[in-house]
């Protein structure tokens, strides 16, 4: 439905639009990260686009790719009833340099979504008014939705006691084995992905 939007984007921004596709009926545009804010502002303000609602913003980690992360923004226009998925690729293989401009001043609703993406995926948003962790606690280390964050890793707020500290014989001692929780990880990431 919004193939027109893709064409308008390509016409307006030219090389800044890296890639477009309409897989499964969802129109998608991948733009260069440094043009992110400019494209967003155009999409909101242009009367033919008028994307007045930012539906969702999230990050996806592709550990085998470079740039490694994708920031995915879903937009909707209540008036025109069309949708668009806008993506930008950032960050190197180690997850460094995952930085992109904030769009929280364009759609205020993005504010918490950006905080969540920062919290869980470790993508920081330049110029965000209040970039704190939102779902995890402030002392949490790392970003749990990255593929290299082990799903069964424990992070106790209070360190585990050693036997000397406890003064008694402890039945279990840290680090606990895998049987402490669910056996996460059907397969190791980065080894055999894709087929079967």
């Amino acid at each position: 439905m919004s193939v027109r939007v893709l064409e308008a984007l390509k016409e307006k921004f030219g090389d800044a639009v890296v890639e477009t596709h309409s897989q499964f009926g969802d129109d998608t545009a991948v733009v260069r990260a440094d043009k992110w804010k400019e494209v967003c502002r155009f999409l909101r303000d242009d009367p033919a686009m008028s994307f007045d609602m930012s539906v969702d913003l999230c990050g996806v980690d592709y550990p085998d790719r470079e740039p490694r992360f994708e920031v995915v923004l879903h937009l909707y226009s209540v008036a025109k009833r069309h949708r668009l998925r806008l993506k930008a690729r950032i960050g190197d293989a180690e997850g460094e340099g995952a930085e992109i401009d904030t769009v929280a001043d364009i759609w205020i609703g993005v504010n918490w979504f950006e905080r969540e993406t920062y919290d869980l995926m470790g993508i920081s948003f330049k110029g965000h008014p209040d970039l704190r962790r939102i779902l995890m606690y402030p002392e949490f280390e790392g970003h749990p939705l990255r593929k290299d964050y082990p799903a069964n890793k424990t992070q106790p707020l209070v360190p585990y006691r050693t036997e000397e500290e406890a003064g008694v014989t402890l039945e279990k001692q840290a680090p606990f084995g895998l049987d402490e929780g669910m056996p996460f990880g059907r397969r190791a990431w980065g080894t055999d992905r894709g087929e079967s």
């Binding site: 499964f24 969802d26 609602m53 539906v55 969702d56 209540v78 939102i134």
Partner: protein, 404 residues
């Protein structure tokens, strides 16, 4: 005892001018879920507020990345746990969009009936709990009684009262029971009667009205900018309902209205939810009339649907197919999809990324009450401390969904 103000001049007796800090939650009797609001008060007026969520974070998205596509269903049940069936259907539709599957008509009607029942239970819970927090305990009990009727139907259908895990890729876990239609037709007039009684009790109550009307107001454009959807957005007068704007299943073939409010205050949100209960009842009755009594529920597609049990035990092909589907999972084509349905609180979106294997690469849920809770701060700033209770109640924040 000596009066303390003996040798003080009057100025020093004034109240301290620096604002008072108050923590509300995470565990508070008037809080639906575990959410913490850090308040800065001047007298009883809220100057600044900081809403902090995350106390119910269970790593939903991380967990989904380790099982098969089908194993996500029990997790989505626990997102919005007052209307789990809507989550089930939404997720099933998202995966089916990727696999290019359309479920048989009978299944579409069946999903609509179950989904609308879940919506009724969602709205009844929200409105009942909101009334209870304002001191009206009786309507709460009545609404919970009506919710029991809904849950009786869902229990008969799925075997579970709360977390059904009933959706499947390409169909449902079981076909409709023969009792479904008669149970729905019996329960719906009873539910509507209870809704009406509760309404009569609340909407003629001066105290209840005064605490709702013109409290927690938000305008339509503001609500859109905050990414609000669902009953909260419709209460501002914006008639955006996914079921009408982008119909899925059979919503374009049934007759229903989208109730909207006028000024987006707590009362409007309360009334919109009551209106939606009535509309859901209409949809269920129409779907009961239209749903066939016979016919397939699951698609005939061996890529996603488990073979019949007797074949699994008697033929080698079905045994292998069963084994592959359970151990490796249904293979979903490579790519990404965003699928959205109307959940209890608004647009419930699933953004799925598949690498072509039986395990999702990324399952992203767009929880409707996440942006709604974000807007809470704007609603209560400048209001009185006691206004938090009805305002927060009317937003229907569900901890499991909001905190992933």
């Amino acid at each position: 005892m000596e009066p303390i103000d003996l040798d003080l001049d009057e100025n020093e007796l004034e109240l301290p001018s620096e604002p008072m800090h108050l923590n509300m939650g995470p565990s508070h009797p008037a809080m639906h879920g575990t959410v913490r609001i850090v308040l800065e008060l001047s007298g009883e007026t809220i100057v600044k507020s900081d809403v902090q969520i995350g106390y119910l974070h269970r790593g939903f998205e991380k967990m989904c990345e380790r099982g098969t596509w089908t194993q996500v269903f029990p997790y989505v049940d626990r997102l919005n746990y007052v209307s789990p069936m809507l989550n089930n259907v939404g997720y099933a539709l998202a995966v089916e969009k990727m696999c290019d599957i359309e479920v048989p008509e009978r299944c579409q009607w069946y999903r609509m009936i179950l989904g609308e029942l879940a919506r009724i239970s969602d709205h009844l819970t929200c409105n009942g709990a909101m009334a209870m927090e304002l001191g009206a305990f009786t309507p709460f009990l009545w609404y919970i009684k009506a919710r029991e009727m809904v849950w009786d139907i869902l229990e008969e259908e799925t075997g579970a009262r709360l977390t059904h895990s009933f959706g499947r890729i390409g169909g449902m876990a079981n076909p409709p029971t023969p009792a479904l239609k008669s149970m729905c037709r019996e329960a719906i007039p009873a539910i509507l009667k209870i809704v009406e009684e509760g309404e009569g009790m609340l909407l003629k109550n001066r105290i209840f009205i005064d605490r709702l009307e013109n409290i927690g107001k938000i305008s339509g454009p503001d609500a859109i900018a905050l990414s609000w959807t669902g009953p909260c957005l419709r209460s501002t007068g914006v008639a955006y309902d996914v079921r009408k704007a982008h119909p899925y299943l059979k919503y374009d073939e049934v007759d229903f209205d989208v109730p909207v409010g006028t000024c987006g205050d707590n009362m409007d949100r309360f009334l919109v939810r009551l209106g939606e209960i009535r509309q859901s009842c209409r949809i269920i009755l129409q779907a009961c009339d239209r749903m066939a009594d016979e016919g397939p529920v699951n698609v005939d597609d061996p890529r996603v649907i488990l073979p019949p049990k007797q074949d699994v035990y008697t033929t080698i092909e079905a045994t292998i197919q069963h084994f592959k589907l359970v151990m490796e999972g249904a293979k979903v084509p490579k790519g990404e999809v965003y699928s959205y349905t109307e959940g209890g609180n608004g647009e419930l979106g699933y953004y799925l990324v598949s690498d072509g294997s039986g395990t999702p690469h990324r399952v992203r849920i767009r929880p409707p009450c996440f942006p709604i809770t974000q807007g809470l701060s704007d609603l209560i700033n400048g209001a009185m401390l006691s206004d938090i209770v009805p305002t927060f109640g009317s937003l229907n924040m569900i901890g499991g969904e909001c905190d992933h």
